[in-house]
Symmetry: C2
Subunit: 171 residues, 2 copies
């Protein structure tokens, strides 16, 4: 995936000193790279009878919507608290400092759904694990999780060992 | 656009008492309705030689990414402050209570670009006007703005009278 890596930019000391942020906006800006990324994200799941794609706010909305579109299924946004207007299920999870919450509409998925989760980044796996829990709370099945970038040294994959994980680019 | 209206849900008193929120998550969840919306969003601009699509965080990421994909051009995220890791231009604008800021990477667009702006909702036009200013600050041209929903009674279109405005569903 060197073609994708060439469109991912290192930003030192963002969002805090000592962290090297992987900026995927150049990849979104390049239609050929974006097309490659989206097709590589969904490819392992083509035989999986996916019925919906869920994406995590906010960069997961870009890749998630495109994967849903290409699979011909609907898109379910997983959002930060207070953003979704209808009745929600919530899952909270710990971050290095503090905690976060993700919400989904209670009627977004049913027991018939097989869901592919999409985000741009797998880091510690906290967001992804909460997303899987949220999908299951709605009664649906997680068919897998796909990420553009995986930061191997943060061990997020271990936290998700019950799920099929697919990442395009590893650091 | 009755087919789209049938997938937009009224949520009374969200985000505050007296406001009826137009919930477009059922539209995103229905692949046929989503396909119709995306094709209707881009249709008037097919002859406009669009070189990039910009979408406003966060629901604009869903529709913006899909319009960019279908036009075969790149996607530029316009984000809330502190989210974009590289050098940014910022535009602040007033809300009914308080103010907001939108940011774009300084290298996201150039003087060669003709940009289509996409968001889910045209309300007072504050976010859209700031987005147009941001695109122009980067040296690019705004070819137009397209919205899934326009709240006519809020008069946002008057605030954007220098631009070509296209909305699918009016309330």
């Amino acid at each position: 995936m060197e073609r994708l890596k060439a469109r991912i930019r290192d930003i030192p000391d963002f969002p805090q000193p000592g962290v090297v942020f992987k900026d995927i906006t150049p990849l979104m800006r390049d239609p050929a790279a974006l097309r490659l990324a989206v097709h590589q994200l969904l490819h392992p799941f083509l035989g999986e009878q996916i019925t919906a794609v869920a994406g995590m706010e906010a960069r997961g909305f870009v890749f998630g919507a495109l994967v849903a579109w290409e699979l011909g299924v609907g898109f379910v946004p997983l959002r930060k608290p207070g953003k979704l207007p209808y009745e929600v299920h919530s899952v909270s999870y710990d971050l290095e400092y503090g905690s976060n919450t993700l919400e989904a509409h209670t009627d977004a998925l049913t027991g018939e759904d097989r869901v592919l989760l999409i985000d741009d980044l797998l880091a510690t796996g906290g967001t992804a694990a909460a997303s899987c829990e949220l999908v299951e709370r709605l009664g649906a099945e997680v068919a897998g999780c796909a990420f553009v970038v995986e930061l191997d040294f943060l061990g997020g994959r271990q936290r998700l060992r019950d799920y099929r994980i697919h990442s395009l680019v590893h650091y």
